[in-house]
Amino acid sequence: MIKFLLMVNKQGQTRLSKYYEKVDIGKRPALEADVVKGCLSRKKEQCSFVEYKDFKLVYRQYAALFIVVGISDTENELSIYELVHNFVEVLDKYFGHVSELDIMFNLDKVHIILDEMIQNGHIVETNRNRILAPLLALDKMAEAH
């Protein structure tokens, strides 16, 4: 299962974090820093899967933004790798050329999208239209006001 998902930029600043397995709030920054350091230090041609402590990290880089997913040993690395891309594609579709700023300024919306895709550490939806449906409904409601 998925343990957590992070979006971090090259400077190591967290842009989004979501934990599906309990991690003490106090310990999160340290974990994030460590994980990010592990991924940032790897070269482009190196493999996108890293063994970290007792679980694995799958990461993907989009411009200056890294998306790092922590998964348990039993998860299929490649499927998570593809899920990350799917997530980015959804963001891209919603924001139109999504950038780091979009994510920062619309953190709540990104969370909605993420919640539609992953729940409980499991993939719940991968269809782009279905993922975006609740969010679009929400936007409509906001416009009506």
């Binding site: 299962m1 967290t14 989004l16 974090s17 979501k18 934990y19 599906y20 309990k22 709030i25 999160r28 920054p29 070269k43 041609e45 190196q46 493999c47 899967f49 039993t74 299929n76 690395e77 490649l78 499927s79 790798y81 593809e82 899920l83 920062m104 300024f105 953190l107 709540d108 969370h111 909605i112 919640d115 729940q119 409980n120 499991h122 993939i123 719940v124 939806e125 991968t126 269809n127 279905r130 449906a133 609740p134 409904a137 929400l138 409601m141 906001a142």
Partner: protein
């Protein structure tokens, strides 16, 4: 009141929202902490207001700050307030904040139970959705207990959006409140068949997760999952299902067998790497659990592995390697490429893999590449790793894969050129081992070692303690011990006594001195015959007398002792020489006797001399213990044990011996009756007993066109070439022999692929035999049955043994398969829907013969011969369906201009071929016939007859069966994988002519369709994107056939290209036929 609202919204306009906060933080890079603390103060103010909009905005900002690592637990109550807002926009902010900040120990969660319950039952699906999502993050055992029922009801909600979320959250509920599992399970199971794929996928996820914890309980769901696997198109779901099967197969092997086929289809048809990887992993797991070689499936693994690269691929390969080494072997190029990878972990993994994948055939090539890497490698650790791997690879299982030991010696010599390696002793021990055990190689080894000794300064040139000088230890010993092979012992002797030797480590010097003496003996013996050269002998003695004092002064005791001993000896000899006494014989006698390797288990075999009882006391046990015995008995544990052993042991062994003898008898009788037990051949038994047998082993001499004495360092590369040539020759010889055999007996039902594949392992005859059978055994050692099991056993014997067994197994399997297949055909005969079952062609019609009771039934499989573009091999299975004996079968085909049955030389063009077996009732057997074909562009039908004699108890009758052999164009195609870039190049080249085909009303899923084409028409998928795939195949004469298959609502269009339009047209027709039949 109204005023208050207006005031509130005006306030809001001046409030910061999330965007402002983010912007602000960016603008205050220098004093970020200070800025944030002011923001938090503002937020605290905002939270105090009544306006829910302001509160929600504040909570939203808090969520962001929380992410940055600030503690916001103080706002927990406000978050609950926002959660309970009736407006969805605010509610979701509350839930988001809760899901980020709350955890089990947050006490305000208790307050939320009713609110959540209300939201769960809200008419607005998004309210429910957001509550479910939030709940999944902060559910506590209490919440789980209280809400389990509500969530369970939601599992059957009308909206799939709610259903899928409810199903997923149930997993969390099960974890927190396990009692809920039992009542909820039936409903969960029901959800596996939900019409909505999202809900299905959620249910699959949950059950997979549950099953991982306790797979046994979920075995009963296997059929359901099996159905899902074949129907689902969502790769993420498929991965989960396949993973689940991977966990289930170890519990239920039958499941594994069933899985192989659909998995293989998926492997062939999917374009998703992740799915492919999962399939491969599960196939491996299945194969391991079945633990039986399935040759046809390992082929599918190969296809899949080709596309997965690097880390995961290597990971998967190492798993396969354990059970199916052959299938990995063909990827050695890829693995060798990985040695160039920048990632060291990949390089090391690749090295590990190489170790397992060498064979007689590719050893030289692999080692050659590794040698290149050794030269290139930077950093001594990796180079040392390479060096040890090379030696490991070569020496594994008793040098099983080395066919030419001269080559190996040269490799070892080349390795000595490495600077600064730590593994000198490893190389040295290999040299010694090979030189001692492979008699045939000694002359060559000695020559090489002499060169090494001569150039010793190159190795020791580096003054720093250099591990490589260990090699000189081996070199000196080999030259001394086998000095009779030396061309010029005198110069070697001179080289060994150079003053520079004194700088070597002591133990090496000691060997030098000792072996100098051996060489001296050889020189003397060499001179004896020619009295004219007596002076030479005397000069040699003088040389020793001159040089040895240097060693006598050595600080090393061993060197000193040996040197002075030998010095005195030589002085004595010199005196005798001066008196013209023949001394050579005496001196040689000093070192006479051959040194033979001792078998590792020789000690075990030493029989216990008569009258020796190892259990008996040598001295009587001290009597004092006995006197105390009585008193201690009840307490002393140690005394108990002693006492017991004293009394029972002798009796015990006696019984044991009798019992053993009895068991041995029984086992022997059993073995004699067991047709599958391969008895040790008498000859090998003898070798064992005598312990000499070298003379019996034919040592193949290589005829080298290049003189072996290469000055300076040898090059191992030349051996690779020589080996190639030798194998070619061997193969040619073998072919000749084979042909002869074939002519005599026709062809036997051997392995089907034996002919079409590249030369198989057995075909390679080693240039030198490893002399392992002559390892010394004690004189009266008894051969016993459990020798077979011993891993140290002479490998030649055991491998022979194994091979036979394997072959037998394979044959059996083949037969079984055919029978099944056969069966199939039989049933579908009338309907005709499966008549292309085999992917090949239709075969002879089973014509019932006049006599009702006797009928022979046959089935065939036509396959192109990869090695020979004009040969097609037809395997025919004959089954005797009557209850009489069938014999003297003769197979004959009316040749056409294009296709001819290959007949033995001297036979007329109309003579039949005798089938080399007889068939008892109900038995089937396979025979293979070779046809030569000129043009493969057109399909062919050949008419033929089979004549045979049916023998009943009282009479025998001649029978005849007519049949038709249908050579389709498909049977000339050979599944050849193709990389997409090579494929693109092929298409670009413009040499190919196009053609196309449209199929209407094909309802099967696309991947089935592709799998069908792959299977029946020998294509392989190059690339698949969506509902479009490119495929490739090659004919036995090297025509490329490319297909582009597209599908859109039940219509399949195939665009094809081939450099032979005729062939293409016919292949397309055949594809069309395949699909019209299903």
């Amino acid at each position: 009141m109204a005023l208050k609202i207006v005031k509130g919204s005006i306030d809001r306009m001046f409030d910061k929202n999330l965007q402002d906060l983010v912007r602000g933080i960016r603008n205050h890079k220098e004093d970020e902490a200070k800025y944030i603390s002011t923001c938090i103060d503002e937020i605290k103010q905002e939270l105090k207001q009544d306006n829910i909009a302001v509160k929600a905005n504040a909570v939203c900002k808090l969520t962001y700050l929380q992410m940055l690592g600030y503690d916001v637990s103080w706002a927990a109550f406000n978050i609950v307030e926002v959660m309970s807002s009736s407006k969805f926009t605010y509610k979701r902010i509350g839930y988001l904040a809760a899901s980020q900040c709350f955890h089990e120990s947050t006490d305000v969660i208790m307050l939320t139970t009713n609110q959540i319950r209300k939201d769960l039952s809200s008419p607005n699906q998004y309210d429910t959705g957001v509550a479910l999502t939030g709940l999944s993050c902060f559910v506590t055992p209490d919440l789980a207990r209280d809400l389990a029922n509500d969530i369970m009801t939601l599992m059957s909600h009308t909206k799939p959006y709610i259903r899928k979320k409810a199903v997923l959250i149930m997993y969390k509920v099960f974890l927190k409140y396990p009692e809920s599992l039992r009542p909820a399970f039936p409903r969960l199971k029901e959800k596996l068949e939900d019409p909505d794929p999202g809900v299905q996928s959620a249910a699959v996820n949950v059950i997979c997760e549950l099953a991982r914890r306790n797979p046994k309980n979920y075995l009963s769901l296997a059929p359901l999952f099996f159905k899902l696997m074949t129907s689902s198109t969502n790769n993420w779901v498929l991965i989960k299902i396949i993973k689940l099967f991977g966990a289930l197969t170890p519990l239920e092997p039958r499941l594994g067998k069933k899985l192989i086929e659909p998995l293989t289809n998926l492997i062939h048809s999917t374009s998703a790497m992740s799915l492919l990887y999962e399939c491969v992993n599960t196939v491996i797991a299945v194969l391991i659990s079945l633990s039986s070689g399935m040759p046809n499936h390992s082929a599918s693994i190969q296809v899949s592995l080709r596309s997965i690269q690097h880390y995961l691929g290597l990971l998967a390969m190492s798993k396969i390697l354990k059970t199916h080494p052959k299938s990995v072997q063909s990827h050695k190029d890829l693995i060798l490429q990985c040695l160039d990878d920048k990632d060291e972990s990949i390089r090391l993994r690749a090295l590990d893999l190489l170790y397992g994948m060498v064979s007689k055939k590719n050893l030289m090539e692999i080692v050659k590449k590794l040698m290149l890497h050794v030269d290139k490698a930077e950093g001594t650790t990796y180079r040392d790793e390479l060096l040890t791997k090379i030696i490991d690879i070569c020496s594994q299982s008793n040098y099983q894969y080395i066919t030419n030991f001269e080559w190996y010696i040269s490799i070892l010599v080349e390795l000595t050129r490495l600077e600064g390696t730590r593994h000198g002793h490893l190389i040295a021990s290999q040299m010694l081992d090979v030189a001692i055990r492979v008699k045939a190689i000694r002359a060559f080894a000695v020559a090489q070692m002499a060169t090494l000794l001569d150039n010793a300064h190159l190795l020791t040139g580096n003054t720093q303690r250099n591990g490589i000088c260990e090699v000189l230890y081996a070199a000196a010993w080999i030259c001394g011990e086998f000095s009779e092979h030396l061309e010029d012992p005198l110069s070697t002797l001179e080289a060994m006594l150079r003053p520079k030797v004194a700088t070597l480590p002591g133990h090496i010097q000691a060997v030098y001195v000792q072996n100098a003496a051996k060489l001296f003996a050889t020189v003397l013996r060499g001179q004896e015959g020619a009295p004219a050269d007596r002076t030479v002998a005397q000069e040699t003695s003088q040389l020793l007398i001159d040089r040895l004092p240097l060693f006598v002064q050595s600080a090393n005791l061993e060197v000193q002792e040996r040197a002075s001993c030998i010095l005195q000896l030589v002085k004595y000899i010199q005196k005798l020489q001066q008196k013209d006494v023949e001394v050579a014989e005496e001196v040689t006698a000093l070192f006479a006797g051959e040194l033979n390797p001792v078998a590792p288990k020789a000690q075990k075999k030493v029989p216990v001399p008569e009258g020796l009882d190892l259990d008996a006391w040598i001295n009587e046990p001290p009597s004092e213990s006995e006197s105390e015995d009585e008193g201690r008995k009840p307490k002393g544990k140690a005394v108990f044990a002693k006492e017991e052993s004293k009394h029972t042991k002798p009796r015990y062994t006696e019984v044991d011996e009798k019992e053993l003898a009895k068991r041995r008898e029984v086992r022997k009788a059993e073995q004699a009756n067991n047709p599958f037990y391969i008895k040790a051949s008498p000859s090998s038994q003898k070798v064992y007993q005598d312990g000499v047998g070298v003379e019996h082993i034919p040592v193949v001499q290589i005829d080298l066109s290049v003189p072996l004495k290469v000055p300076g360092m040898p090059m191992s590369d030349q051996y690779v070439k020589l080996e190639e040539e030798r194998r070619q020759k061997d193969k040619a010889d073998k072919k000749k022999k084979d042909k002869k055999k074939r002519r005599e007996k026709g062809e036997k039902g051997r392995r089907r692929k034996g002919d079409s594949g590249p030369e198989s392992e057995e075909d390679i005859t080693p240039a030198h035999m490893v002399d392992i059978t002559t390892e010394e055994m004690p004189e009266n050692a008894l051969p016993s049955d459990d020798d077979e099991k011993d891993p140290n056993d002479p490998h030649k014997k055991s491998s022979k043994h194994k091979k036979k067994k394997q072959k037998k197994e394979k044959e059996e399997k083949e037969k079984k398969k055919k029978k099944k297949h056969h069966h199939h055909h039989h049933h579908s005969d009338g309907a005709g829907d499966e008549s292309v079952q085999n992917g090949n062609v239709e075969e002879e019609e089973p014509l019932p013969v006049s006599n009702q009771s006797s009928s022979i039934y046959s089935m065939c499989d036509i396959q192109g011969n990869l090695q020979d573009g004009s040969q097609v091999v037809v395997s025919v299975i004959f089954e005797n369906k009557c209850d009489s004996f069938i014999k003297a079968m003769e197979f004959n085909v009316l040749d056409s201009l294009n296709s001819k049955l290959q007949r033995p030389e001297g036979a007329g063009p109309h003579d039949g071929l005798t089938v080399p077996f007889q068939l008892p009732p109900g038995i089937s057997n396979e025979a293979r016939f070779v046809f030569s074909v000129q043009s493969i562009v057109m399909p062919q039908k050949l008419k033929g007859t089979l004549t045979f004699i049916v023998k009943t108890d009282d009479s025998s009758t001649h029978e005849k069966l007519d049949f038709k052999l249908h050579f389709t164009c498909t049977s000339y195609l050979i599944t050849t994988p193709c990389y997409s870039d090579a494929y693109a190049k092929l298409l670009e080249s413009g040499d190919l002519k196009g053609s196309s085909l449209k199929l209407e009303g094909v309802s099967q899923p696309f991947h089935h369709l592709l799998a069908r084409i792959c299977f029946h028409h020998h294509f392989s998928v190059v690339e698949r994107i969506g509902s479009c795939a490119s495929m490739y195949s090659r004919s036995i004469q090297g025509h490329h056939v490319c297909l582009l298959v597209k599908t859109a609502d039940q219509t399949v269009s195939i665009d094809a290209k081939c450099d032979e339009p005729g062939l293409l047209g016919n292949v397309l027709d055949e594809i069309k036929l395949t699909f019209s039949q299903c």
